[in-house]
């Protein structure tokens, strides 16, 4: 953006697993930390694959796969401290993992047993939001709350490339900028909004949107977990220190379908996917660990075994998830008495009883 601009894409680990330097961002990770990141990446991919399988078997109504976006999610998710609050879309299973949300709780929404199965305050991880872009405003409001109650954390909000077109998202930029709110906008540009390529949403790289609103934007290799971690950590730190918002564009690729009901062969060419497979977010960490002899086969096998176990466990617990009772429909609509709803509840209970007799 300025004359001596840094390389447009922040990258710290190449697809081949080489560590590279970046003038503005760097990170010092212990072998232990790298192995831990690797483990996260593998486990969330496994959770995701399992969920896809569960949908194929009719156990879920639908699933939104994160395949290919693991690094963006684990990198940014691991940058969060306990005090930070995260607002996801419907695809942030990797971030949920970092926030200690039991994966089975993610399935409830997709199985149709609830609209959101965890307590946001318990995990500092908000519920999934389906209406595109809405959560960006919630996140900014939350960040304004931190400013007002003197809390320690910052806020991060996830959204997609498609979402960048929504009025709400742009209003959230206005608010964040004007109030200098402690927030990080984390846009996973997976280059597709269902069937629409990124060109239908923007003719310039999305990270530059931030400049138009008066705060910094940075594009990071979204398949590079090191870079995602480093850039997010820095942005969160800036936010906490009163330097206001940052927009991070994680440049990545949606390797799977939009959701399990989608058929991407209708709108994109196979070669694109093939090219991106070479940039796989997990393979490069594996290569790095290997090359630098930071992990041995035993480690990789152990992670794979853990993933298998996790998958099996998830499968079992998904299938065991109890259906809600019909009367659950009437709960939590209001926090206290509501005459008409109470009447409806009573009437419907009576109606159902009629069938039993």
């Amino acid at each position: 953006m300025t004359a001596d601009a840094p390389p447009e894409l922040v990258q710290l680990l190449t697809p081949e697993g080489e560590r590279v330097e970046h003038p503005d961002y760097d990170i010092d990770l212990t072998p232990e930390e790298v192995r831990s990141l690797y483990r996260d990446l593998v486990l969330v991919r496994r959770i995701d694959l399992e969920a896809v399988a569960l949908q194929r078997h009719g156990e879920l109504g639908i699933w939104a796969s994160l395949l290919g976006q693991e690094a963006a999610q684990i990198g940014s998710g691991r940058a969060l401290t306990d005090d930070d609050m995260a607002f996801p879309t419907y695809r942030e299973h990797g971030v949920a993992w970092c926030r200690d949300v039991d994966p089975v709780k993610l399935l409830g929404l997709f199985r149709g047993v609830n609209h959101g199965g965890w307590d946001p305050a318990e995990h500092n991880f908000h519920l999934y939001t389906i209406v595109i872009g809405s959560q960006t405003l919630h996140a900014v409001g939350y960040a304004m709350g931190i400013q007002r109650d003197g809390g320690d954390g910052a806020t991060i909000v996830y959204f997609g490339d498609g979402a960048s077109s929504q009025g709400d998202v742009n209003e959230s930029f206005v608010w964040a900028s004007v109030f200098n709110a402690p927030i990080v906008f984390f846009c996973q540009n997976n280059q597709w909004a269902i069937s629409e390529p990124i060109e239908k949403q923007s003719r310039i790289p999305l990270y530059r949107r931030a400049n138009g609103f008066g705060f910094p934007g940075v594009r990071v290799d979204g398949n590079d977990v090191f870079a995602c971690l480093a850039v997010t950590r820095q942005a969160l730190k800036n936010a906490r220190e009163g330097q206001g918002p940052t927009l991070i564009e994680a440049f990545t690729y949606r390797m799977g379908a939009h959701t399990t009901t989608d058929d991407p062969t209708r709108y994109r060419v196979a070669s694109e996917l093939e090219a991106w497979k070479l940039k796989d977010p997990i393979e490069r960490v594996k290569a790095y660990l290997f090359k630098n002899e930071l992990a041995d086969q035993e480690f990789f096998d152990a992670v794979d075994a853990e993933a298998e176990k996790l998958g099996a466990d998830l499968r079992r617990r998904c299938v065991e998830m109890p259906d809600p009772t019909p009367m659950a429909m009437f709960e939590h609509v209001y926090s206290s008495e509501h005459r008409q709803l109470d009447e409806e509840r009573t009437a419907y209970a009576g109606y159902l009883e009629g069938f039993e007799s």
Binding site: E196, M329, F330
Partner: protein
Amino acid sequence: MTVLTLSKALNEGMRKAMEDDSKVLIMGEDVGKLGGVFRVTDGLQKDFGEDRVIDTPLAESGIIGTAIGLALRGFRPVCEIQFDGFVFPAADQIITQLAKMPMRALGAIKLPIVVRIPCGGGIGAVEHHSESPESYFIHTAGLRVVACSNPADAYSMIQQAIQSDDPVIFFEPKRRYWEKAEVDTGSTDWWAPFDQAQVVRQGSDVTLLAYGPMVKTCLEAATAAAEEGRSMEVIDLRSLNPLDTGRVFESVRKTGRAVVVHEAPVTGGFGAELAARITEQCFYHLESPVLRVGGFSTPYPPSKLEEHYLPDLDRVLDAVDRAFGY
């Protein structure tokens, strides 16, 4: 005569409209290459090009707002809102602009825009994908609001909606998209005006009033009731605003009882309007109050519960029983 699914009938109807009038455009999210998430616009971009079948940025207010601009320039945009629950970001453009601009301009402006909304539940979807937001638009003067319930109507009504010089909110019963029926695409003789109701089953004891997805449910209820000796007349309203009160009143005056069935929550729903009007105009003919069967006064529940939320044959028959209890 061809056998078409409801979704294909819409597709053929739009294709016809586009062939007949080069000003007709299709716009929305994923309507182009993908042909829409329900494939209702399948193949249209291929045949009419990207200038006439427009994959838009992901923003509903933008879709309706730019459609208004295109209409001001003489085009006739047909906008798709991907799912019912996503119409609300466009609420302002629909309610304060689309509905009101023609009157604002004292008639100097016409906005021949169709807003297609796949609506209703029953497909096991996640939140916001199963709602029935018609009441919001029925209450908004300046809009015409219609709902199709079968392939033939889908075919003729979408074309009439596109031909209309007024903005039309066009509801499509998404769980009926795959239902098939014969459609005569070769002639328009059979077309009924799209603001007319249709008696889809004759009966004498009670009038069932429905539209969109609930028409089939009511027909099934009527079949079941017939076996028990109760004769139900079923009216497919088709147009919700304006309302074909003539046919409705005629039927209710004959039967003396009416039950309105819709998926939207009963509270403040369209059933209330129907009940109020019927009562006002048919007061001395009514042997029981007009009863309403609909969604509960809750957000649309998770899909495992939707069979409880949505009116079904049993709940319709239960309401009819209650009507006879007066």
